[in-house]
Symmetry: C2
Subunit: 455 residues, 2 copies
């Protein structure tokens, strides 16, 4: 008899696991059932701001792989079906399908599993204030979220307030600017992009202000003014910001309650604890992956919960490889990420100064300002590169980039160097490319390493 793999959650981690497990095990050997509470699988959450902003016209484009494509691989997906309870001893998941569309007769059913993947994702943080449930307040996580915002845009709103200054906050601010709205970003932190050092966050803040965004820092939201059931303004201690629509970009927390209720170990970050094979610590046949888990920082070894699509995809794939019978280990994360707001690009990898200091590293930081192309080449935007190195060894620990178009993807070079544990001097010697349309003779990342190595 074949094994059954049940996957709870049909997005990045869940479907990467399904696809990989299927690559390694035939349908006759492994049945794969995905339980998905929503109506979509394998869509690009990260694309939603661009759909809202109008760069992407059709939600279909955000679907990386259709249910039909999965069906062809004998991967069953039960939409509109929510996992209610995991019994790890009995190896069952109790699911509830509101409309029966998941193919389950009746409202509730029990699925036996031989292997289980918990890929329940994360939920946007909601500050404990009044008015957040009003019409006109939107999350930015799912395709229905995006649909709701696009519908609201049809009513010709004039003013948007974005809560939060992280990736989603910046991307939604850009989207609304592109739609011609007047945009206010309200954040509790002293600067946008709290995963950057302050000096780099200041550059982002200046760029946002320069593109006409009203950035209100150090102002936690205290409430939403609601009139007739509709959000009309965001209130902080410093003022009230009129809004025709309000968007939540305050970060997310791991959806680990279902796992916790089942007795699975939950880490200090509120993510599900797993080992490098993506197995939960207490149950060998129960895996977890994606935004719902706790993973480890590759440099510090410390537990972190970072919601990034790349990590989720990789972790799901690792789980699927192990379920498929081949050993595979997740190697940890650097938290490498890029984003942009207007023409301001932002990249980061490894440790920030705060993270490095918390982990007990004695560090040096180096900032280099240069241009994206040769200084004399047209449209040679500026960029700043910040490099963090360990004081004693000069090992590279972290990198941050803020600059004009074409700057941020350089972060991958730093990520690779940090991953390979190069010192600043070793990286400064790497034979990096140059031509006037692409960089000055020495790229800013090289100059930063050279400067760091020269101390």
């Amino acid at each position: 008899m074949s094994d059954r793999l049940v996957i709870i959650g049909g997005n990045a981690a869940g479907m990467s696991c399904a696809a990989q497990a299927r690559r390694l095990r035939e349908p006759g050997d492994l049945e794969i059932v995905v339980v998905e509470a929503g109506q979509f699988t394998s869509y690009s959450n990260c694309g939603i701001p661009y759909w809202v902003g109008g760069e992407v016209e059709d939600a279909e484009a955000l679907i990386a792989r259709t249910p039909a494509a999965f069906a062809e691989q004998d991967i069953q997906i039960r939409f509109g079906t929510r996992a209610q309870r995991i019994d790890v001893e009995a190896a069952t998941v109790t699911v509830r399908s509101d409309d029966g569309s998941g193919g389950i007769h009746g409202q509730s059913a029990t699925l036996d599993f031989d292997q289980l993947l918990v890929a329940t994702g994360a939920t946007p943080l909601r500050p404990p204030v009044e008015g957040l449930d009003a019409d006109g307040v939107f999350g930015v996580q799912t395709i229905p979220d995006g649909e709701a915002i696009r519908k609201a845009l049809e009513k010709d709103p004039k003013r948007a307030v974005v809560l939060g200054g992280g990736y989603i906050g910046l991307e939604m601010a850009e989207a609304f600017v592109n739609r011609g709205l007047s945009v206010t970003v309200v954040l509790a932190d002293p600067l946008p992009m709290s995963s950057l050092d302050e000096d780099m966050g200041e550059r982002v803040c200046a760029a946002m202000t320069a593109m006409g965004i009203d950035v209100r820092t150090g102002e936690p939201v205290r409430g939403i003014d609601v009139e007739g059931g509709l959000a009309r303004a965001v209130v902080t201690d410093a003022g009230s910001y009129p809004a025709d629509l309000v968007v939540l970009g305050l970060g997310v927390r791991p959806n680990s309650d279902l796992a916790a209720d089942a007795g699975l170990r939950i880490g200090t970050t509120k993510g599900i604890e797993v080992d490098d094979t993506m197995r939960t610590l207490s149950h060998e046949s129960v895996y977890a992956a994606g935004d719902c888990i706790q993973t480890r920082n590759r440099i510090t070894g410390r537990p972190v919960a970072i919601a990034l699509g790349t990590h989720a995809n990789r972790q799901g794939r690792i789980a699927g490889t192990n379920i498929g019978g081949r050993p595979a280990r997740f190697e940890g994360v650097l938290g490498t990420a890029v984003t942009k707001v207007g023409d301001c690009e932002i990249g980061r990898t490894g440790l920030s100064t705060r993270e490095a200091e918390e982990a007990g590293f004695s560090i040096e930081t180096t900032v280099v300002e240069s241009t994206v192309k040769a200084g004399y080449y047209p449209k040679a935007g500026k960029l700043a590169v910040k490099l963090l190195t360990e004081k004693q060894t000069q090992r590279m620990l972290g990198g941050q980039i803020v600059g004009g178009p074409g700057s941020a993807k350089r972060i991958d070079v730093l990520a690779t160097a940090i991953w390979a544990q190069l010192t600043a001097a070793e990286f400064a010697a790497v034979d990096i490319s140059y031509a006037p349309p692409f960089s000055p003779t020495f790229d800013a990342v090289v100059l930063a390493a050279r400067k760091a190595a020269g101390r």
Copy 2:
């Protein structure tokens, strides 16, 4: 009494050496004299095609550092002064200054040196055919070359023929297309960009053809038709290509004759032999750097002569550091380079298939086609990434990229991974950035490594 460092050649390698030596040794300790045959120092050769193409309006912009800036550092530059003879035993250089502008009274003089740097660069290759000396045939190496072409453009030429399909050939073809000329590229090789594998060269060729360039491959030039002293056509075995101007982009050879005449060892590549400190092999106080030397490929250890500004700058700096009294070693080259022709970007690093096979590696190659941005994001151009790995170890040996705007700079990620001697599996695990405006969930370089690792 202070030492005297004489530098022959005042461009990338020479002036990097001068600047670095000065950083480490005061004028009272080290006199620095640069002998430069031309009238410019520290200019960007690589920028000349963009000056011709009109992206850069003023030659001044190409000067990275003015003679006045060097003078402030007590670095003397003798323009219009050509080194005629090096006597390594006597430690002298005989120079000839045609107009006395180098500050030498009389036409000929002898300079004593304590340290010498030979940084004589390279000379464009000229096929042994008739007509090359006619008016209307241009090199693309110096500022006077660029001036001459710009002057020729004022006469409203209609047709340009570019000889050669390497970096300079492609960049000049782009420049003339931008100027509205009808462009033919004539090359002896079967494909443009011979430093790429054929399948990648074919992509470049297709892109050139698509932008209206007439690419004539496998046609060595047999002669230039000259009328009234003016080049009128380029002749090959296959035909005659009418030309209002002709440009030489056939590569370069190291200018090592002066060094050879002085008894310095010349390598199989015709470049001057040096060790990793940039010292010539036979004379401890005589250094050489830049396009005139033979360096070593970091992967194979084999001698190579590659004319690239990045290498020249790095080598000059290494020489200057050693002359400055601090030990420094050059770590070899991967031959990492980027260029573009129109919207087609090209990057390469490490070994090509031919180079790997010549060095005795048993290799596997992997090609991945993907997009520069998320597939659904606007202007998500296509790109192809080719990865070369060693068969037994899966160590990464080389990478090639051909694709749309934003694709080529990814070569630096591969260069860093190759430099750090990562295997395909190790690189595939690196935490690389993602956001829809920057790449698909997994960047093509990661997909290539994953595919290579999965064999």
